[in-house]
């Protein structure tokens, strides 16, 4: 057995070799998610100080912002893997895109829900039709459309590709969400954290938010890996290795 086998990305682009890799990574990501979310929650409630203007209501920020980031980021990742699947015709990329969609939709829902619960005590309304909120709602519809379209098509290859086209068309919405608070005058406040300027938050608050975001990130990876493993088993059921795998489990 050669120990000097070169690491190859192509090796892991086959579902058969990715399946055990995903299985090995998933518990670690789950553990990190628990760890980061735990630390994040501790900072959110016991370290971060009360906000000067919003009092305790601002503590929603720790999940709201993290969930909103994930909702946009997961869509971009989904669009990326959809594109790769469409162009290079790699089955695994399409499976990853399929596996990302439900988690992305969940985080979009969480962002909208926590946003409503944050908006009521601070702005004085659950919902307004400003650019940020509207475009985030469209993002949720795009996720649902992607899932519904893939669910409606029986032919797997076609479902993958049709979903990919939809995902790529919808990518245009992500920069609109992100920049909406700059382009329009919205009720929604601007970004507290950006690449171009210093964050406008107290250090401990920022730390709590970033760690929560890391936790959600790890959670998303773990959930996606778990889902992609189910998808691989379902779609590769005609192969011998899946048969052997199931025999080993059952």
């Amino acid at each position: 057995m050669s120990t000097r086998k070169r690491f190859s990305w192509y090796y892991f682009s086959s579902p058969q070799s990715f399946y055990p890799l995903a299985g090995a990574l998933q518990p670690w990501c789950a553990a990190l998610a628990v760890l980061f979310c735990g630390v994040g929650l501790y900072i959110s409630f016991f370290v971060a100080p009360t906000d000067a203007t919003q009092g305790e209501a601002y503590r929603i920020i720790f999940i709201h912002v993290a969930a909103a980031w994930m909702s946009m980021f997961l869509y971009l990742v989904m669009g990326f893997w959809s594109g790769v699947g469409l162009v290079l015709n790699t089955r695994l990329s399409s499976m990853v895109a399929t596996a990302l969609a439900p988690t992305g939709a969940l985080f979009t829902f969480i962002a909208l829900w926590t946003g409503a619960l944050w908006g009521k005590p601070t702005w004085g309304t659950w919902w307004v039709w400003d650019a940020r909120l509207t475009s985030e709602l469209i993002l949720l519809f795009l996720y649902i459309g992607f899932i519904a379209l893939q669910g409606a098509i029986d032919d797997q290859r076609r479902a993958d590709k049709a979903g990919a086209v939809l995902a790529l068309v919808g990518v245009i919405n992500v920069p609109i969400i992100y920049f909406s608070v700059k382009w329009w005058s919205t009720l929604h406040q601007g970004a507290s954290v950006s690449l171009t300027s210093a964050p406008t938050m107290a250090k401990t608050m920022l730390l709590g938010m970033l760690i929560m975001a890391l936790g959600f990130w790890m959670y998303s990876i773990a959930a996606t890996l778990a889902r992609v493993r189910c998808v691989i088993l379902e779609r590769e059921r005609h192969t011998d290795w899946v048969a052997a795998e199931i025999d080993g489990l059952a």
Binding site: T53, A57, Q189
Partner: protein
């Protein structure tokens, strides 16, 4: 035309279209596509007439008054250049404070006052503990006081 040329033409048309679209969209953003109007815009007659719309700005310090009936409030929205008096019957959001941001929806009366149906607080993206806020306020007050005492040179 050869297929290669056809593709070339199509890609060229595509790039030109994208450029055109980007120019148009960006130039549209220069104009007023807004969720709310500032008092200056209202004075410049850019705001809708005979229709309810939103104005946004800061609540002027010391302008908040409650009428005798206890539910009608009166305050002034300002963008530091112009200001508009606002009347509102109802409950104000918790974050509504003098000197803070506000977005309010209603109609402009002929006498130039604004009759609001809804008042929303607009907060900024700054989050900090009360102590830090006080320090900033103090610093601002100090610089303001200094600029009062010592006018800038060259004037």
């Amino acid at each position: 035309m050869k297929p290669r040329h056809k593709r070339f033409v199509l890609v060229g048309v595509g790039i030109a279209g994208l450029a055109l679209s980007a120019t148009l969209v960006l130039s549209a953003f220069q104009k007023n596509l807004v969720f709310f109007y500032t008092p200056s815009q209202v004075f410049a007659k850019e705001a809708p007439v005979g229709k309810s719309f939103r104005i946004g700005g800061l609540v002027e310090n010391g302008s908040l008054k409650r009428e005798a009936d206890g539910v009608t409030v009166q305050f002034v929205v300002t963008d530091t250049a112009k200001s508009i008096p606002v009347y509102y019957r109802g409950i104000l959001p918790d974050l509504f404070k003098e000197g803070k941001g506000v977005v309010t929806e209603g109609r402009l009366a002929p006498d130039g006052t604004f009759h609001a149906d809804e008042v929303l607080a607009k907060h900024d993206e700054n989050y900090m503990p009360p102590a830090a806020q006080e320090a900033i306020n103090e610093a601002k007050a100090n610089t303001a006081a200094q600029s009062l005492v010592m006018p800038p040179k060259g004037k």
